[in-house]
């Protein structure tokens, strides 16, 4: 069943002119985007199968402007969809016709870097990669590294609690943020956390991270930066079967070894990626792991020796160590371009369930069966070390019947993830995509409690209102 959108509020649509005039009086002309042509760029995010034209788009450049706009929207009962770069794969930043899009992409400056305290204060619209680049000259980096890091913003990362390949060792966004400047719907600006650790009172910061733009608009953040290891080395391990690769991952972790990254690719993905990135991946294997170790040369060698020993016990067929920065980059290039490369051969939806490590092989197998039963193909590429799976279900976007099948297969897979003890989403978020599946993971009373918490921040449900929670059930207190 296609994902439902709420019926737009006629009264708000009717007031469009008035709303635009009102906003126009509050912000500079270049901040407010009205024309249909320009609005079109904001019609969807990376869940491109769905799109809706927003009332207007506002791109403020200061926290004060954000506050003014939100206050106006609250007073006039206008819905607001916060947006970073719009790379959400769950439809988290997809607008609706009776809402404005409030984008923070113009707020993209690094305000302060403090290497001694290992923190940086950044505007929320700065891209993830730009933060790492700004501190790289001192050997530092910002740890969470979604594959979309070139484009996605810290705001969106906070919205989705995004992760990436290196989160196995360094944690996800919530573990790397110390503070935010948050604008509440009524325009109030609050500072949560700061350059210090563990604020008193309830962990509002923990609640904001991953809240998918429903609790307030983040305009600045204090992030942790870390000194990079002396060296890092990705190594490719090829196996005949996915089961062997999966078992090897479990054995490595079971031995108390936590590499910085363990990435998994199945045969389908290897073929697609190699055809595009020419990363030098072997084509005669059934599954690949990229395992990255870091430290001094001696440390890396010692850890690799342990890992190789374990891999041999799991019938590894192919081992390729990167011997230079270029080779290392090639290995990662293949992985990082997997989504893009797949997009060139077919349309796909990218699922994002997490399962207990012991279930990896089982879920991979079941995923293959489920997708085959709908007559479709699947490519698996994911963060194996933390059980976060990304089946890419390939289909033809111009064929509504295929799209429906792909979505149904995706649903079956996610339900299975929950069944074996996992969850619906490990890093992409619920958005609109998994909204109606929430009842598979949560009891009604769990959802009601979450909605009551949400309502503390936004009693009228104006902020990103059609996301995360099933549409038929709106609690306010």
């Amino acid at each position: 069943m296609p994902i439902a959108f709420p019926i737009p509020d006629e009264a708000v649509l009717g007031r469009r002119g008035e709303i635009l005039t009102g906003l126009g009086q509050l912000v500079a002309p270049e901040v407010l985007i009205i024309s249909e042509d320009e609005r079109r760029a904001f019609e969807t995010d990376a869940l491109t199968a769905y799109r809706r034209m927003p009332l207007a788009v506002v791109l403020p450049s200061t926290t004060t402007e954000v506050s003014t706009v939100l206050k106006f929207c609250a007073q006039n009962q206008v819905k607001v969809v916060p947006r970073g770069a719009g790379t959400s794969l769950a439809g988290g930043a997809i607008p609706q016709e009776d809402a404005i899009v409030l984008g923070v992409s113009k707020m993209n400056r690094i305000l302060d870097v403090n290497f001694e305290n290992r923190t940086a204060r950044v505007q929320a619209g700065v891209t993830n990669l730009a933060v790492s680049q700004a501190v790289a000259h001192e050997g530092f980096f910002y740890a969470p590294d979604p594959s979309s890091q070139l484009a996605c913003t810290i705001a969106g990362n906070i919205g989705m609690n995004s992760g990436g390949a290196h989160c196995l060792k360094y944690g996800v966004t919530t573990n790397n943020i110390l503070g935010v400047t948050l604008v509440l719907l009524d325009g109030t600006i609050v500072e949560i956390g700061g350059e210090h650790l563990d604020s008193p009172g309830y962990d509002l910061l923990g609640l904001i991270v991953g809240s998918e733009g429903q609790l307030g608009v983040v305009t600045e953040a204090v992030v942790r930066i870390r000194r990079a290891a002396e060296g890092a080395k990705p190594v490719l391990f090829g196996f005949d079967t996915s089961e062997e690769a999966g078992a090897c991952v479990a054995a490595i972790m079971g031995a108390g070894i936590i590499p910085v990254a363990i990435e998994f690719m199945d045969k389908q993905t290897i073929e697609i990626v190699e055809g595009f990135a020419k990363a030098g991946y072997p084509l005669d294997v059934g599954a690949l792991l990229i395992i990255e170790v870091e430290g001094s040369d001696r440390e890396m060698e010692a850890m690799l020796a342990r890992i190789v020993g374990i891999a041999r016990k799991h019938n590894v067929r192919h081992i390729k160590e990167s011997r230079s920065a270029t080779e290392a980059a090639a290995i990662w290039k293949g992985r990082k371009s997997a989504f893009g490369a797949t997009g060139r051969v077919a349309d796909y939806i990218c699922m994002d369930g997490t399962v207990p490590l012991g279930q990896l092989s089982n879920v991979l197998k079941r995923t293959g069966e489920i997708v085959a039963s709908y007559g479709l193909r699947v490519a698996n590429v994911f963060h194996a070390g933390d059980g976060n799976m990304h089946p890419l279900i390939l289909y033809n976007v111009n064929d509504p019947a295929e799209q429906a099948k792909a979505e149904a297969a995706g649903e079956d897979i996610l339900k299975y993830c929950v069944e074996v003890g996992g969850c619906l989403t490990g890093e992409h978020g619920v958005g609109i995509e998994k909204r109606d599946l929430m009842r598979f993971q949560f009891e009604e009373r769990d959802l009601r409690q979450q909605m009551r918490v949400r309502a503390v921040f936004d009693p009228a449900w104006l902020l990103n209102p059609a996301k995360v929670f099933p549409l038929d059930n709106r609690l306010t207190a």
Binding site: E116, N117, T119, M160, N161, G171, V172, T174, N175, T188, V190, G194, E195, H196, L197, D198, S199, P200, G201, Y202, D203, L204, L207, V209, G210, S211, R227, A228, A229, E230, A250, M253, I257, I258, S296, E299, A302, M303, P356, G358, D386, G421, G422, T425, G426, E427, V430, K434, M438, F442, R445, D446, Q449, Q450, V453, R454, V456, V468, F469, A477
Partner: protein, 394 residues
């Protein structure tokens, strides 16, 4: 006064529902070791986790453990150690400082977000928390999170419950991520440094690629001479290598000696539990969190007005400070210093009348207070859980 000892979540739901209907305040109790922490609560009955002590899931190969709240922390630590694993956040033990006895429970560790020296490398208790089950003030059993390492399904109520000091609900199950125990732990010590030089040393160590997992400074006033301590952990060969690199990196600050393993271990426990400040017992104890480089300024600023002793953990970002209980335990001075530097201060130990008169935690600004009151109402509408323990109004 009634003491409720539920044996199951369902049991706890019934007790809470009844208390909510009667508007009977419940003091949530684990091992009872933190009785002297926080604001003195007003309560009529206690709700104890003492009969809910089971480990419900432990998968060493998956680095995850779930337990009922009343399980003793020491039991969990022992169980994990059998599998060469541990809690990443190195929970502290307040008993020496508070002079209490009893068995600290894992539920209270979660409820208080207790974390020790490894906080700077391994995160706080909240960072290791994967999932919780709890009974809300409506008597409903609620779950949030789960048992997998990554989970962004819905709002993260886990974070909200961790550190809420039992004011939002009665935890019935907590699930933590665990880590492999280090095969070797070693400590470097530099002697005789001033606070400022010590923190610069620790910043240099923490800003190096050598994975420092403990960074503390004990000033001369603590006794035993000024000591600046840096800990590294991991595989033996790697630890050896990093010790060498750190010693040469830190040469400009002084000579760093490797401590004997036993001495190092004892020192980190003393730092973790702040036992170096436990005596004299009539002093108030504060725990102050600020940006690491601000640590020495904050301490110096406070010392201008009141007589105090202190030491630093978390690379300078955590100041443990002991001072007289007179003049509201120096609250005005301490909070003024924090306002200047950024951060917050918690009154960890003081006589009951002082804790009743002074804000134990930094009072929040109005907008945050409003959100907190809203959250309390949304989870505990009748206001029955630990009323007044964190803030007068919560």
């Amino acid at each position: 006064m009634t003491r409720h000892n539920p044996t199951s979540e369902a049991d706890a739901c019934a007790i809470v529902a009844e208390a909510a209907a009667q508007r009977t305040p419940l003091a949530i109790q684990g091992g009872g070791t933190k009785r002297a922490f926080g604001r003195p609560p007003q309560f009529e009955s206690t709700l104890s986790s003492s009969l809910m002590t089971k480990v419900t899931l432990y998968e060493p190969a998956e680095f995850v453990i779930s337990t009922e709240p009343g399980a003793s922390l020491s039991g969990i630590v022992r169980l994990l150690a059998e599998h060469r694993q541990e809690l990443a956040f190195e929970p502290l033990d307040y008993r020496p400082l508070l002079g209490s006895d009893g068995e600290p429970t894992i539920g209270a560790v979660a409820a208080m977000n207790l974390s020790g020296p490894r906080r700077i490398a391994g995160g706080a208790a909240r960072d290791s928390s994967l999932g919780v089950r709890f009974v809300n003030g409506r008597g409903e059993a609620i779950k949030s999170g789960g048992r997998v390492m990554k989970n962004v399904t819905g709002l993260d109520l886990v974070k909200l419950m961790i550190g809420a000091h039992g004011t939002l609900g009665f935890l019935t199950e907590v699930t933590f991520k665990v880590v492999p125990s280090a095969q070797r732990v070693a400590t470097l010590c530099l002697v005789g440094l001033s606070d400022r030089t010590a923190i610069a040393t620790l910043s240099a160590a923490l800003g190096s690629p050598y994975d420092v997992s403990g960074a503390a400074h004990l000033p001369a006033k603590i006794g035993g001479g000024a000591r600046t301590l840096i800990r590294v952990e991991g595989f033996p060969d790697s630890v050896e290598y990093r010790l060498g690199e750190l010693r040469s990196l830190l040469k400009a600050f002084g000579t760093a000696e490797v401590l004997a393993d036993g001495t190092g271990k004892d020192l980190w426990v003393a730092i973790r539990d702040a036992t170096v400040l436990a005596e004299p017992r009539d002093k108030a104890i504060w725990r102050i969190s600020t940006a690491p480089t601000k640590g020495p300024d904050v301490a110096a600023l406070i010392a201008r007005t009141i007589d105090a002793r202190w030491f630093f953990d978390w690379g300078g970002g955590l100041i443990w400070l002991a001072c007289s209980t007179a003049s509201a335990a120096g609250a005005a001075t301490i909070r003024a210093a924090i306002r200047q530097a950024g951060g917050h201060a918690t009154l960890v130990r003081a006589p009951e009348d002082v804790r009743a008169a002074v804000d134990v935690f930094d009072p929040p600004v109005k907008a945050i207070a409003r959100l907190q009151t809203g959250l309390k109402a949304s989870l505990d509408p009748a206001g029955i859980f630990n009323p007044g323990r964190m803030f007068p109004e919560l």
